[in-house]
Amino acid sequence: MSSERGEISDEALYARVAARDEAAFDRLVERYQGRAYRLAWSLLRNPEDARDVSQEAFLRVYQSAGRFRGDARFSTWFYRVLVNLCLDHRRRRRWWQQPVTQDRDEDEALVERQPAREPDPGDRLAEEETMEQVWEAVHRLPPQQRAAVMLSVHEEMSTADIAAVLDCAEATVRVHLHRAVQALRRKLKP
């Protein structure tokens, strides 16, 4: 089983992982580490949490490789594990880590306001403020809506794939996306 570019497919690699092929696991990690970290970061918005949760997702898929059905796509399987971990992480954090989270967000905002390389610092600052507003608005979305939006925009997934990841109907994903966009528009309208 191989892709159009002649590379071995994710599913074939994952089948080897099920047989405890360590090299195959390393290749899968290299393929997905960037996407996994970025998605976890966009859902959790904290570098340490993103690293921790994305690594945990790799561990989970390694351990459950034997249960993978060949008719599903590895990416769907992996994203489902990752998104569930992120949503669980947020739920747990909501109870006892919220003040810490707010501090971290402020720290991140400071980091993101590093001196600009562009010639006009004013424009750069305005752009960063807008991004900060977008992030805050996204952060306030319900978890399922937020996940749907991030999978759609950043991972460029179809509504059908998002439905498979979130384990819901495609119509539900459409509702999530519509409501998320409406809420964001209300919050970001000048």
Binding site: Y37, W41, R51, L177, V181, Q182, L184
Partner: protein
């Protein structure tokens, strides 16, 4: 117009070009006649552009990331193997119990009899100190061992040549 007929939830997939041709045609036809949905579509376009403009997070050191992942995997394997071995559990539990008993077991503690021991200790120590006081003499005693050899030096048999 009945709002139920507005294809609002299809607008994001429409923008992202993810609709099947027939549904896409229906939505396009509706948009030509509905100013409200056109506005909703325009709003969605703005929001999606803003979301797409969010910069990617700074990437971690991937080598370190994979090393951490590998370490976690190894730790989990060890942990899993440990829990899955009944013999290991039994031996570990037994050792832990024995250690606990040994540590916690009350041992009879006799009151220190410093009054009777102290003089003996002092005597022995004093004797040793006395020997050390005359260490140069003690050291010379070793020469007695060689005294016989020195005496015999004068009586080496000449005829033995």
């Amino acid at each position: 117009m009945n709002t139920n007929t507005h294809p609002e939830t299809a607008l994001v997939p429409y923008l992202r070009d993810q609709l099947e041709p027939d549904e896409r045609a229906r939505v396009a036809a509706h948009l030509e006649t509905c100013a409200g949905c056109r506005q909703t579509l325009a709003d969605a376009r703005v929001v999606l552009a803003q979301l797409a403009g969010i910069p990617a997070p700074p990437e971690p050191d991937w080598g370190r990331y994979r090393a951490e992942l590998r370490a976690r995997l190894e730790a989990r394997r060890r942990g899993a193997h440990w829990w899955r071995r009944p013999v290991t559990i039994a031996v570990s539990t037994g050792l832990a119990a024995a250690l606990l008993l040994f540590t916690v077991r009350p041992t009879p503690v006799e009151p220190p009899s410093t009054a009777s021991l102290t003089p003996i200790d002092e005597t022995a120590l004093g004797a040793r100190l006395d020997m050390l006081k005359h260490y140069d003499v003690v050291q010379r005693l070793d020469m007695l061992d060689e005294l016989e050899t020195v005496r015999n030096l004068d009586v080496v048999p000449v005829g033995g040549r």
